[in-house]
Amino acid sequence: MSAPLDLPKWADTILVPAISVVAAFLVAGLVVLAIGENPLTATRWLLLGSLGTGEGLGFTLFYMTDFIFVGLAVAVAYHAGLFNIGGEGQATLAGLGIALVLNNLTFLPGFLLIPLGILGAAAFGALWAAIPGYLQAKRGSHIVITTIMFNWLASVLIVYLLVNVLREPQSMNPETRAFPEQAQIPFMHDVFAAIGIEIPHSQLNLTLVLALAAAYCVWLLIYRSRLGYAIRVVGSNPSAAIYAGISPARIIIIAMVLSGALAGGLAVNELMGYQHRLLLEFTSGYGFVGIAVALMGRAHPVGIILASLLFGILYQGGAELAFEQPAITRDMVVVIGGIIILFAGALDGLFRRLVAHLFARQKLARA
């Protein structure tokens, strides 16, 4: 029998993840030491690059927007007991949806294009997740396997389409033509400029607001709605779901559809908010970061926002660090990210048990 893991909520949601992060940074510091660099200077560059300047902060929040969407996507599926590894593929297809909508419906008035583009992203992402969802629900094909395979399918499909179908005839680049200007989500610096406030330029755009709204909606869905209730019943106790008259198959498909739609947010931020065209590999592996974000955020929207911020700092600060200290390459930054994932995800139980043990002891001492 393991010791009962009873933790106060704040310890469960804040303290344990914080310990994980600190431990991860300590280990990462050792790695930096091992290649002969000073971990303290490295940390300074990391923080300075991500939070120290207005521009850096903008980039950090831009990455954070990506991570919130994919983190939420993983979390919704997770609540239904599903491990959706397919964020990459779903976001890729969402990008296709955006390009098809925006470049084909140019005759529509501008104020309709942005919502339609977002819907296109959600719909294509949802569809790409719905197929593995259906296969899991009706055929028992394991969702982890199918979503991984669908990542590959998506990546091959998008290469084919961009090279052979969607590429502009006169262009050598495998990318679509630029989206119409009225379909581009405004940059944050332009928005602020419009109301007379000058902020540094960065990729950060209004999609951040959409991401935060999505986080609130996911919270409402999962923890307050009847559907979210059913999703959680299926995820934590399938036989109770059958007893309750909730169809696990139906819920699995619904949860995957929602998950895929949320993953589409990554494409909205990257393509409608920044690149303004569909191009290859715009997902940059962020779909996988979503898994770490959701794990670290304990599949709760607030946790996911915080974890996304952390990973945003890591990505932006890491880029600056690699620039300032050439000995620490971008790959090193990936290593540090990996260590955090290891500690926050895989070793989470270790610290949780430790903290629970300390709490139990303290309780006994008081009793």
Binding site: A3, L220, R226, R232, S236, A240, I242, Y243, G245, A360
Partner: protein
């Protein structure tokens, strides 16, 4: 002569839970010693310490007067202690000989060891009357014989002291009698037996002395001859309890649940219920008696709509239920509610706060929220009220469902179903893992419900419970209904025969 086992001032905590507090236990050699207590009283923890699964935080274990340290089951076996677990630790595809050999193979090649085992098994069979086909595959043996293999395993390893944890939970009354005969003959040969159980009848029938545990403490050890079931129950609970609930003669009304020729096949294609037909009327409790695993669970689930019957007809309050509407959701709408057998796997969601478990199956009811959003304040207030009515402790609707004791979880489930005014109530194992105090409460509720005109179908593996509550009793064996008796006109022996499928002698 020093006692076979002495436990002195044993303490054991799990986190904040003090499972054993200064427990003392002394078991004389050559006796059968009962240990009783409610669930969570610390019996299993104590025995796990004795068998080396856990180490005590403090205290001393003495075997035959010598203090020893038991750090693992191997230490326990070396000290001559054997244990028969409630859930057997057998490898079903292997033969009896191979199972007994397991962990004592005696070398890289099996041939030599096997000869020793065969010789030893033959001797044990002769000495104790433990007859068994040593080449039979364990998975093919009946539950009673599998238990015998467990006992043989312990004896083969040289056990002088045998611990049995709830050994009769899975046995028919006849098999239980055979087990008791065996235990008596072990005792005559000088073996010591520790019997953990919550069935007071068994304690009275077979033990020499009995120790009672309550909330982690050893509250009494008495000579069985000088005590009585009511006294033991009082010691276990700490207050007087009624072991039998009072009930008036019932006057059954219209048939509310009619089952005709129902057959059910499980996911592996095995026929679990064969041609079951019966009726439950308004204002009566029909009990289904049977040894666990004889189709009662599948029957309940099929009626509730959790699994589709392959054949048969179901009529609710005179209305034929079509196949297309035979699902849990529709059945609830028709007034057929269900207290499932397995609280933790089915009846509630352990990870949810209690107020969310308290709407399981009803989360679509319009009045529980506005549109798609559930009104948590309302759910919490609703449950708080029910918790007061049903005396759920602690009365904390936000507490995780898994944090409540078995009895309180069951009250939450019962409250959920009963408060929705069922016409027909299916009840599976209403008091499994529930403490005696709560059993009394639950039984009274069910009787009150019957008196209010609800048709109740009760499934339980506790024959006492079936006999106590039911107006009519059906027996099931191998998926078939083997008999029907009025509760007032039958007895345990007759039901035992019917449960074993021996219909002629019972008739």
């Amino acid at each position: 002569m020093s006692p076979a086992i002495e436990l002195i001032a044993i303490n054991k905590s799990f986190g904040a839970v003090h499972a054993n507090k200064d427990v003392n236990l002394s078991v004389e050699r050559g006796t059968i010693h009962g240990v009783v207590g409610e669930n969570g009283a610390g019996k299993s923890t104590l025995m796990s310490i004795l068998y080396g699964f856990y180490e005590a935080d403090s205290g001393e274990v003495r075997v035959n007067g010598k203090p020893i340290a038991i750090r693992s089951p191997i230490d326990a076996i070396c000290a001559g202690i054997g244990m028969v677990h409630q859930h057997f630790m057998l490898v079903e595809p292997l033969s009896v000989v191979e199972n007994v050999m397991l962990g004592a193979e005696g070398g890289a090649m099996l041939r030599v060891g096997e000869a020793t085992v065969r010789a030893e098994l033959a001797r044990l069979a002769k000495d104790y009357g433990l007859e068994i086909d040593v080449d039979a595959t364990v998975g093919d043996l009946s539950v009673g014989l599998q238990q015998r293999v467990e006992i043989l395993k312990a004896l083969y390893r040289g056990a002088d002291i045998l611990i049995l944890d709830e050994p009769t939970a899975v046995l028919t009354p006849a098999e239980a009698d055979a087990l008791f005969d065996l235990l008596r003959s072990l005792k005559e040969q000088g073996k010591t037996v520790i019997l953990i159980t919550h069935k007071l009848r068994e304690i009275m029938a077979i033990t020499d002395r009995v120790s009672v545990m309550r909330r982690g403490e050893m509250v009494a050890t008495v000579e069985t001859a000088n005590t009585s079931p009511p006294e033991l129950a009082e010691l276990m609970v700490g207050r007087r309890v009624l072991l039998r609930v009072e009930k008036a003669e019932n006057t059954p009304g219209a048939p509310l649940l009619e089952v005709e020729n129902l057959s059910v096949v499980d996911s592996r294609g095995v026929l679990r219920v064969a041609n079951a037909s019966f009726t439950v009327r308004a204002g009566e409790i029909v009990g289904i008696a049977g040894v666990a695993g004889n189709g009662q669970s599948e029957l309940l689930e099929a009626i509730a709509g959790m699994r589709q019957p392959v054949l048969g007809l179901l009529r609710l309050d005179g209305r034929d239920i079509a196949w297309s509407e035979h699902n849990p959701h529709r059945m609830r709408q028709f007034g057929l509610l269900h207290v499932p057998e397995d609280r933790l796997r089915t009846g509630l969601v352990p990870a949810f706060p209690a107020f969310e478990s308290a709407i399981l199956g009803f989360s679509d009811e319009p009045h529980l929220g506005r549109g798609p959003i559930l009104d948590h304040d309302r759910l919490i207030a609703d449950l708080a009220k029910k918790m007061e009515q049903y005396d759920v402790r602690p009365p904390a609707p936000r507490l995780k469902s898994s944090k409540f004791s078995g009895g309180n979880q069951q009250k939450i489930v019962l409250a959920r179903e009963i408060e929705r005014n069922p016409k027909v109530l299916l009840v599976g194992q209403p008091t499994r893992g529930v403490d005696i105090g709560a059993i009394e409460f639950i039984h009274r509720r069910l009787i009150a419900l019957r008196d209010a005109g609800v048709a109740i179908l009760l499934v339980s593996v506790e024959l006492d419970e079936i006999m106590n509550l039911s107006d009519r009793i059906l027996t099931m064996c191998g998926g078939k209904i083997t008999g029907e008796r009025k509760a007032s006109q039958t007895n345990e022996q007759e039901l035992g025969l019917l449960m074993a499928g021996i219909v002629d002698e019972a008739a």
